[in-house]
């Protein structure tokens, strides 16, 4: 009914305004700035879910710096001020996490494809060897991520390729093998499969098999992934599970414009080949105030979006919006305090952050759009149960897509929406009781 429809994923596309960022300076964690409706959960229990104007009505948020802007979760400022949040140990990269709030310069409100476009612009400007290619990128790409770049950098740097994924991937590898930067676009992640041999057998193994003599770290393959409402079998897939088995590449999934800019820039500049999956449903839907300054987000590191004590929830990409809704419902209706983690890098993944969180909460839910069997959630669950067995108070749950091809007409039922996640949260929290 009204309640449910307002929280339906499709209607959330109308709600594209983001929060202003006025976080306290002691916090270096970027809160997830997405979904609507936003309600100040600390304020009231009777809320009108369809209120779009709660942005201004959350007046309490502007008064005290430590409880503002993040209307989804209540935290006490103490937990929010953990520096770095992730206990210091870096599993993969020692690049420090940028503090988005204190970056100098202005911020511009923009959506995901614009943020990607600006980042590609930065990359092409700063690296004369960088080339950008793929199907239809010349006119701007089917998702407008590459608009204006051919005009700015020339047709020898930004150009269309024929319909040849193997050729795109292989050519990127060969070009990058000469210490150059190759940014390839695969039009939809569903089309990655012909190129899989190049990714697994050439890209991932290039450095290792040559004993560090050659590498193709300049490769960045970008592709839109995930459900979009009407994609059907071949325009909705999430292949991160398959890619996670190609050890030697880095698989990155941003969740919105701010994280996309940082992750894409560090992916392009990384010395390892990166496959970056951009959530296509958010290309227009996600709007955030992105700093104009350059910043790079470290690869291999997860981010805790919201601290909590009752259950840890791990997701990535577009699914975080759904999870945030579920967390919100859990908090507002049932008083459950959830810890929401954005994995950000699927391979190599940040087991440490999740482990610390699960040791604190004792319960874990992993949620992703890809089918449940052999999805990446399976890897997280297997590793966490091994490392945190004695801390677990409930079995680890996965809330994922079903083991079917991605359906067209049944998409709404197929996706792991906020109700399925809420159910899992309630199940897990209520397990021991």
């Amino acid at each position: 009914m009204r309640f449910h429809r307002s929280l339906h994923l499709q209607s959330s596309r109308m709600m594209t305004r983001s929060f202003a960022s006025t976080t306290t300076t002691t916090r270096s964690i970027r809160p997830i700035k997405l979904l609507r409706p936003c309600i100040s959960s600390s304020k009231c229990s009777n809320v009108s879910k369809r209120s779009l104007s709660t942005r201004t009505s959350a007046s309490s948020s502007s008064s005290s710096p430590s409880t503002h802007s993040n209307d989804y979760w209540t935290e006490d400022s103490q937990s929010m001020s953990d520096s770095m949040g992730q206990n210091g140990a870096f599993p993969f990269s020692s690049l420090p996490e940028p503090n988005i709030d204190t970056l100098p310069g202005p911020k511009t409100s923009m959506n995901l494809f614009t943020a990607i476009n600006r980042t590609l612009d930065t990359a092409l400007a700063s690296d004369p060897s960088a080339i950008l290619f793929g199907q239809d990128v010349a006119f701007g790409g089917v998702f407008r991520c590459t608009t204006g770049l051919r005009e700015k950098y020339g047709k020898h740097r930004v150009f269309n390729t024929p319909l040849t994924e193997v050729g795109i991937a292989g050519m990127a590898i060969g070009y990058a093998a000469t210490d150059s930067t190759a940014i390839g676009e695969i039009q939809f992640a569903d089309y990655i499969f012909p190129a899989f041999d190049q990714i697994t057998n050439e890209m991932a193994k290039f450095r290792y098999r040559s004993g560090n003599q050659w590498h193709c770290g300049g490769v960045t393959l970008r592709m839109p992934y995930g459900a979009v409402g009407h994609g059907g079998h071949y325009h909705s897939q999430s292949p991160e599970g398959f890619l996670a088995a190609c050890h030697g590449i880095v698989v990155v999934i941003p969740r919105g414009p701010i994280s996309a800019k940082g992750l894409l820039l560090s992916s392009i500049r990384s010395k390892d080949p990166v496959v970056i999956l951009e959530p296509k449903a958010l290309y227009r839907a996600a709007v955030e105030d992105v700093p104009d300054a350059e910043y790079e987000i470290p690869l291999g590191k997860a981010e805790i979006l919201q601290h909590g004590t009752d259950v840890t929830i791990v997701g990535w990409g577009a699914q975080l919006r759904t999870l945030a809704k579920a967390c919100h419902m859990a908090k507002s209706k049932y008083g459950i305090s959830t810890e929401l983690i954005d994995l950000r890098t699927i391979l190599p993944w940040d087991v440490h952050t999740i482990e610390q969180s699960v040791k604190k909460t004792g319960k874990l839910i992993v949620s992703h759009e890809a089918p449940v069997t052999c999805g990446f959630g399976a890897e997280i669950v297997a590793t966490l149960q091994e490392r945190c067995f004695l801390s677990l108070e409930a079995p680890i749950r996965r809330v994922c897509g079903y083991d079917t091809p991605f359906p067209l007409i049944f998409e709404k039922q197929y996706l792991p929406d906020e109700y399925k996640n809420l159910e899992a949260i309630l199940d897990v929290v209520g397990y021991a009781k």
Binding site: F90, P91, F92, S93, S94, L95, S129, I131, H156, T161, P162, T164, V166, G167, A169, G170, M171, A172, I173, G174, Y175, A176, A177, T178, S180, A182, D197, Q198, N201, E202, R207, Y208, R209, S210, G211, N212, Q213, W214, H215, G217, H247, G248, V250, R269, S270, K271, D272, P298, G300, P348, W349, V351, H352, T383, R387
Partner: protein, 413 residues
């Protein structure tokens, strides 16, 4: 001259073969046309008529090549070293010092030697798993190759790659690939880099991807050819046609076995791959053509391998021993070079024997050296999966997948 088994080359026109055979039968005196030993004992010109066939090309390689004594001797030395090295690999494999896969190149030495002779060090070269001799041609040494096969620390990639994966950054060799045909799109990327980085007004460096007749029908090769032709990349698609794709002859695996014509509108050339002089001159022509911005070219090298596809393949279940023996006796690239050397007056038979003996000994010493390298350390298993350092920041392979701590583990290496 070239020794050519007429009935094996179905598509070479009969008149060319007849011409060649006539030369053969005519004896030494009719082979070398201009600039013979009477003029200088240091260089001679050799006739290459009949070594090339063109497709979609108005120009052609020259029918003559002039070579100095030193050059030809160096080619002979390299080819003989390759032959001895491959025979050694065979013996070592049978003695179980080399494990895993081992694809031998003997019989095809002229191809690697000739291409290398025509190329500059800046030209990029990428090839398939049959890469031992190409690694050697591109500046490798026998000890490093053998050490890699033995899995010792002195190997080209320190045991990480093995037989199919030799690489050398200092020699600009992009190595062997295990997946059939996968090197061709990567080679197209190398050609793209050569074009992108070319200085205006100068010839571009070329990129060559060598693959076999079995690989020639791989989809990714057609894709790469399309891109190379569209963007006029300095790319050479080199098919080493040894007439068998693993255990299936070309008649049975390819509906069209004129591989040099496979590019359709892309120009192609077929070269006698058992004649190192023809290969050198042909590749000089091809490099010039592609480096001048005319786009890619298909090059088919007609060659033969004496061993089976790999050491697990006796090589006789799909072809006759007679065929192998016949090729060895009539078309062997080493015999050809020896005969050329003698006939041009560059060396006497005894001198050649002495060189052979010297190389044999040298290869034996190198093998001994290779065996003496220490074994690779086990912690290198995790090295170089990812870069160790990125723009000044350290990176480390996630510890949750690393091996157990040996001090606390029951497992010992």
């Amino acid at each position: 001259m070239f020794s050519i088994a007429r009935h094996k080359f179905k598509s070479v026109p009969a008149n060319k073969l007849a011409c060649a055979l006539a030369k053969l039968q005519g004896g030494k005196s009719c082979q070398f046309l201009a600039g013979t030993r009477a003029m200088s004992s240091e260089s001679a010109t050799f006739d290459l008529t009949g070594s090339f066939e063109m497709h979609n090309l108005d120009t052609a390689p020259s029918n003559e090549i002039t070579m100095t004594k030193d050059e030809l001797l160096s080619h002979f030395r390299l080819m003989y070293t390759m032959r001895r090295m491959e025979i050694t690999c065979d013996n070592e494999y049978k003695a179980r010092n080399i494990r895993g896969f081992c694809h031998l190149y003997d019989g095809q030495e002229a191809v690697a030697t000739g291409i290398n002779a025509a190329f500059d060090p800046e030209d990029s070269w990428i090839t398939s798993y049959r890469c031992h001799c190409i690694a050697l041609a591109r500046g490798g040494n026998v000890a490093a190759v053998l050490a890699e096969l033995f899995g010792n620390a002195g190997g080209l990639t320190k045991g990480k790659g093995g037989s199919m994966h030799f690489y050398s950054k200092e020699n600009n060799f992009f190595g062997g690939q295990g997946i059939v045909g996968a090197q061709v799109p990567v080679g197209t990327g190398l050609a793209f880099a050569n074009k992108y980085n070319a200085k205006p007004g100068e010839k571009m460096n070329v990129a060559i991807a060598c693959y076999g007749d079995g690989a020639a029908n791989q989809g990714q090769i057609w894709e790469s050819a399309n891109m190379a032709s569209l963007w006029k990349l300095p790319m050479i698609f080199c098919i080493e046609n040894n007439r068998y794709g693993m255990g299936t002859s070309i008649d049975r695996h390819s509906s069209h076995s004129d591989y040099y014509k496979m590019g359709n509108h892309i120009p192609g050339i077929r070269i006698d791959g058992m004649n190192v002089l023809a290969v050198k001159e042909g590749m000089r022509f091809v490099k010039d053509f592609c480096g001048s911005g005319n786009g890619p070219m298909y090059v088919e090298m007609m060659t033969y391998r004496y061993h089976g596809h790999s050491m697990s393949d006796p090589g006789t279940t799909y072809r006759n021993r007679e065929e192998i023996a016949f090729t060895r006796s009539t078309r062997d690239p080493l015999e050809f070079v020896k005969k050329t050397l003698i006939d041009a007056g560059f060396a006497e038979a005894e001198e050649i024997k002495a060189i052979e003996k010297e190389i044999r000994k040298e290869v034996q010493n190198e093998v001994q050296k290779a065996k003496e390298f220490p074994p690779v350390e086990l912690n290198q298993l995790f090295d170089y999966v990812y870069a160790a350092e990125c723009n000044g920041y350290k990176q480390e392979y996630p510890e949750h997948i690393r091996m157990p701590d040996y001090a606390k583990s029951f497992w010992r290496s």
